[in-house]
């Protein structure tokens, strides 16, 4: 076990992948000499060379499109999109090519591309640096979408994503980059918990609280705070956003009868809607209250002085838990 920051854990996972497979190649803006604007790829170009860790010109569609060509050639490109809000120029290549080529060619051409995206807010940045675009990609068939919440998963899942023959969007909660945690670097990604499974990170009996990425920590803090009031929250770290491991969520909701989903992304058409609808379909008769979504608002990501109003925090989540439990809450009297 080693104490590693979140960013360092990803770095270590990338290093393992580069060591294990000569076909793994890292591409992105400022990832080489600089080591990435968040230093996630620090030192990798020095150790693996400019042909394995490639600083690219500033063109996201080209980064993605050339990754497609490299995948055709048998490589496993790992692409860094510098910030969430910079992914849109690459959107066409991701949605029209990366996601569809395996289907288009009836399995002849594999697209084992990993797309690393630092995402989410809470770091006081200007526009385009704090977004949560995951739902665009969970809505696109052919892609797998994951988000990790702790250094150990960061280390293991990045390797699993690179090993996957399907394209994987790997969302990194940038405000957690400096959080530290114990990481077992001896873990084998092939036998570890598969990346498309969710994990119960805190057991509870009264309400199921589903989170992913940056909000898993917030959700766990909420569970701890609620315990003081005698409320038992079961926290699920989704880990995989496409597909969602509904078996794990369903088992929890069958036990608690109540569901709260939280994410930073805006509410409408988001993951929370998907989880709430699917769980309602699957175990309607076990629900004792309507599912509750505690999410960012349907607004462009706001200026940083007000971002904490947009981001679901511990208190807003607990207010949602109260709503699910039928306890007095901010909307008491409004619901019908």
């Amino acid at each position: 076990m080693t104490q590693l920051t979140f960013a360092r854990a990803i770095n270590s996972g990338l290093r393992k992948s580069l060591e294990n497979d000569p076909k793994v190649i890292l591409m992105g803006e400022d990832i080489g000499t600089l080591g990435g604007v968040f230093r996630v790829t620090d030192g990798l170009q020095k150790d693996f060379g400019t042909h394995r860790v490639v600083d690219t010109p500033l063109a996201e569609s080209a980064i993605m499109g050339t990754a497609v060509g490299l995948a055709y050639r048998g490589y496993r490109p790992v692409v860094e999109i510098q910030f969430d809000g910079f992914i849109y120029p690459a959107f066409d290549q991701i949605v029209s090519q990366v996601a569809k080529l395996h289907y288009r060619t009836q399995g002849a051409v594999k697209m084992p591309i990993t797309i690393r995206v630092p995402f989410g807010g809470g770091i006081g940045s200007p526009e385009h640096h704090s977004e949560s675009p995951e739902a665009y990609f969970t809505h696109t068939s052919g892609l797998r979408v994951v988000s990790v919440s702790n250094p150990q998963d960061a280390y293991t899942v990045i390797q699993q994503a690179i090993l996957s023959d399907d394209p994987v969007l790997y969302f990194e909660p940038k405000r957690r980059y400096h959080d530290k945690g114990e990481v077992d670097e001896g873990i084998d990604p092939r036998t570890a918990l598969p990346m498309d499974t969710a994990r119960v990170v805190a057991e509870g009996t009264d309400v199921t609280l589903v989170a992913y990425g940056p909000l898993v920590k917030t959700a766990r803090d909420a569970a701890t705070a609620a315990a003081d009031e005698g409320i038992s929250i079961e926290v699920i770290d989704l880990r995989s956003l496409a597909p969602v491991d509904y078996a794990t969520v369903e088992a929890s909701v069958r036990k608690t009868g109540r569901l709260v989903v939280t994410h930073e992304a805006g509410q409408s058409g988001g993951l929370g809607a998907e989880v709430a609808a699917s769980i309602t379909e699957r175990c309607f008769s076990h629900l004792e209250a309507a599912p509750v979504r505690i999410t960012g608002f349907d607004i462009p990501y706001p200026y940083s002085k007000l971002e904490m109003h947009h981001l679901p925090g511990l208190d807003r989540i607990l207010d949602g838990v109260d709503r699910a439990l039928g306890r007095p809450n901010s909307l008491s009297g409004l619901e019908g």
């Binding site: 190649i25 042909h51 690219t56 010109p57 063109a59 569609s61 080209a62 993605m64 499109g65 050339t66 990754a67 497609v68 060509g69 490299l70 995948a71 055709y72 050639r73 048998g74 490589y75 490109p77 120029p89 066409d92 290549q93 029209s96 090519q97 569809k100 395996h102 289907y103 288009r104 060619t105 009836q106 399995g107 002849a108 051409v109 594999k110 068939s141 052919g142 797998r144 996957s164 023959d165 399907d166 498309d196 496409a242 597909p243 969602v244 491991d245 509904y246 078996a247």
Partner: protein
């Protein structure tokens, strides 16, 4: 403004072989026999195009993008490639596909709607047709970066049209190709029309000159001259193979037909323009050259005719005889490993189909992962 560069031309529209000190050496191996063979390719490809167009008119294909008039650009370049070179083309390069050895039935598959694409790219080293305009130029550039990493001397070749040169992807591809000096050839078939939009709307300068700004050398070649196209392509391939980086080729040609069988070009272009280009026909000039050289014997003509007709019969029977896909095939190959979301939908749809006593539903479980 750009300089108005003369086109590279080795065979005039009248069928006269003119000498060109710079490019002649690149086709010195093309003797009488090879010239007859190129004539056969051109004729066969036009016949494929005519047959496919007829199949569309008869309702056997949903759509077809004719290449009428562009045969020389496709044969001249297609026959210049080595087997281990890799092609990333648009939907109109069916003549290139023929040169790569793609099965004729496979060419029609996507247009008949029995599959999203027709062949395994690795069997012929050619990606299946790209429909998003210009997207494939990035794939070729990335593939070329892979060739470079592997230390191989093959080349990635990408085909696109004049309209595509306005797309961001094509411009970004040239940025990457130049920065990494990737072994890629950008082959632009300037057929003068992007559906209804004339080339002058795409570019204020000659298309070939666009490459200059990226630091990529370019060639402007008579796209209706099979020999000149071959020479230019060989120059570009040779440069790429020997570490010289990318080359941009503008093959100046003309789309004699509609954009696709769903298009009506009489709404936007002048009949006179069509007449002018008919006089520069790529097949007629090779035929005239062969006649001048006394090579167009009755035997040669008969052989080429028979081959073209045999190919036409093959494409027709292959197309019409193609089995329809099974309903549950729509779920195949979305992912390379099981996916719980899709597996559930697939299972539910199989049950739905089975509820009608539909045999497709009953057998679908076989196809299910």
């Amino acid at each position: 403004m750009s300089t108005d560069r003369n086109l590279i031309q080795l065979i005039t529209p009248a069928g006269e072989r003119i000498s060109h000190p710079e490019f002649d050496p690149w086709v010195k191996d093309i003797g009488d026999e090879q010239l007859c063979s190129l004539y056969e390719d051109l004729t066969v490809i036009r016949r494929i195009d005519v047959e496919a167009t007829a199949l569309q008119r008869q309702g056997e294909l949903g759509l077809w993008p004719p290449l009428l008039g562009q045969e020389a650009a496709q044969v001249g370049s297609g026959r210049a490639l080595r087997e281990d070179d890799f092609v990333f083309a648009s939907y109109r390069e069916n003549g290139v596909a023929y040169c790569r050895g793609v099965d004729l039935t496979d060419i029609t598959r996507v247009w008949r709607g029995t599959a999203s694409s027709g062949w395994d790219p690795y069997t012929v080293n050619m990606a299946t047709p790209q429909i998003i305009i210009g997207a494939q130029t990035l794939h070729a550039t990335g593939y070329a970066m892979g060739i470079q990493n592997d230390g191989a001397d093959s080349v990635a070749v990408t085909y696109f049209g004049d309209g595509a040169t306005s797309e961001g992807d094509v411009n970004e591809a040239m940025v990457f190709a130049a920065s990494f000096q990737a072994p890629v050839v950008f082959f632009c078939s300037n057929n003068h029309w992007a559906i209804s939009e004339p080339v002058r709307l795409q570019s204020h300068i000659q298309i070939a000159d666009r490459a200059t700004g990226f630091g990529i050398p370019s060639l402007r070649v008579d796209g209706n001259d099979v020999l000149a196209v071959m020479a230019a392509t060989r120059v570009a391939l040779d440069r790429a193979r020997h570490g010289g980086g990318p080359t941009f080729i503008e093959a100046v040609t003309y789309r004699m037909g509609p954009h696709t069988t769903a298009d009506d070009p009489t709404r936007y272009r002048d009949a006179n323009e069509l007449e002018d280009w008919a006089a520069k026909d790529p097949i007629q000039r090779v035929k005239a050259l062969l006649e001048r050289k006394g090579l167009l014997t009755g035997q040669v003509q008969q052989h080429v005719h028979d081959k073209a007709e045999a190919v036409a019969r093959e494409i027709r029977s292959g197309c019409i005889g193609m089995p329809d896909p099974e309903p549950m095939d729509i779920f195949k190959h979305v992912y390379s490993a099981p996916n719980s979301w899709l597996d559930r939908q697939q299972d539910h749809y199989a049950r739905y189909l089975a509820s009608f006593g539909d045999p497709a539903g009953a057998t679908s479980e076989e196809g299910a992962r």
